[in-house]
């Protein structure tokens, strides 16, 4: 019991003292996950919006594929990328294994289906009357597309935050392709996984508290977005 209390005390001390190692790990975590999310959003929102607006053969197949991707086990993504990036793998010459870049790619793969799929569904949900109204007020096809994305913005934000929640929490993929190298590829979740194994609870616990707080913030934001959407859609 005592050791638990002691661990919590140490963890809080690390946080309030802004421990350098702790900060480094948090910053890298944020850098990796936010880069992956940015990439997933820049590509996933237009791609999802396109799927939501157009009808073409194979469209439902792509959506089923994306939805499968939403539940992709991170370790499987890690395994797949490891095989691609390992020295004897087809992309081994890029020397990406155990780099932050590989971690960003892994998390991008995890976030993209969520962002794209939810963007698709949100844009699809916009009433056809809105689309025709934009057209009859003189919008070009591109302006119509932007208008539909704007109308679907709350849904799209929900998808982006969902993607962020997923990549911040995952450990399987980045542990395999990042390798948890101190000062280079160590992030919050991988540190927790490995420090716990070593019995180093203080740092793990401090990171756990930070992760929980971030998750809480994401959900707080989600709550407000959903509340706003309900309020403006009577």
């Amino acid at each position: 019991m005592d050791f638990l209390i002691e661990a919590f005390k140490q963890a809080f001390l690390l946080i309030v003292n802004l421990d350098k190692e702790l900060l480094e790990i948090i910053l890298l975590s944020l850098k990796v996950s936010l880069s992956a999310l940015l990439l997933a959003s820049v590509l996933g929102v237009p791609f999802g919006a396109f799927l939501g607006m157009k009808n073409f053969p194979g469209r439902s197949f792509i959506i089923i594929f994306l939805n499968t991707g939403m539940g992709l086990p991170p370790v499987v993504v890690g395994l797949f990328l490891y095989m691609l990036f390992s020295r004897s793998g087809p992309l081994g010459f890029l020397n990406l294994l155990y780099t932050p870049t590989a971690m960003v790619i892994a998390q991008f793969i995890l976030a993209f289906p969520i962002v794209a799929s939810i963007s698709q569904a949100s844009v699809r949900k916009v009433s056809p009357i809105i689309k025709l109204t934009a057209k009859t007020l003189g919008a070009t096809p591109f302006q119509i597309a932007l208008t539909l994305i704007k109308e679907a913005r709350y849904g799209i934000f929900t998808g982006i935050l969902g993607g962020l929640g997923r990549v911040m929490a995952e450990v399987g993929a980045i542990l395999i392709v990042g390798g948890n190298i101190a000062g280079y590829t160590r992030v919050m979740t991988t540190t927790i996984a490995l420090e716990t194994d070593k019995g180093n609870f203080e740092l793990a616990l401090a990171l756990g508290i930070i992760l929980l707080s971030i998750s809480f913030l994401i959900n707080l934001l989600l709550y407000y977005i959903q509340k706003k959407e309900i309020r403006t859609n009577p």
Binding site: S127, I129, I130, L132, T133, A134, K135, T136, L137, G138, A139, T140, Q143, T147, K150, E151, T232, N233, P234
Partner: protein, 219 residues
Amino acid sequence: MSLKLVISNLWKGYGDKTVLKDLSYVFDEKKVYVIMGPNGSGKTTFLKICALLETPDKGEVHYYNSTNKILSKDINLLRKITYVFPEVGIFNTSVFDNVAYGLKIRGFNKKEINSKVEEVLDFVGLSHKKKQNALTLSSGEAKRMGLARAMVIKPEFLFLDEPTAFVDTENTKLIERLLIQIKEQKATTIVIATHDSPFAFTVGDEILKLENGKIFEVS
């Protein structure tokens, strides 16, 4: 610059139901045409086809310019005509931004947009609502916003579908005054579908009836 709309031998159906049957008509004057007719007779379908928002199964819909040349159905033509849905079609943003939409996409600058939108909102009596989210307007207010949003782009053809449904007597009078004012400027051909006969006879120069898939002039 004056547009003319010529509809010839128009057919339109949904499934095995034919709605418009070999309909022909010419809208060639800057005045108010009112189309009446029972529910389901095809007024909305007809207006949407005229506004190039739906394609007919058969027949021609052509806009001619003043030199009698057929205009291609591109963005330039689309920007001269506009249709207001019975349910308006409200963007999830403020009343001001809704009304400013057509001006923004046409590249007007902020100052012009401001003055034009303020003026038209004043015209329809919605100035005090400009910051409110348009989805929270009452049905009658939404109707007036839809009209303002269409008017502000100064279309040559204005199609209004049930503009007075849900609108109280006082605001119906306001819409009548508005339409008469637009009419007096002689720059817009207005085509209205409605069930409101007093309104139709107040604003209409030409009363038409859509029945059995065809248009008849009511003398």
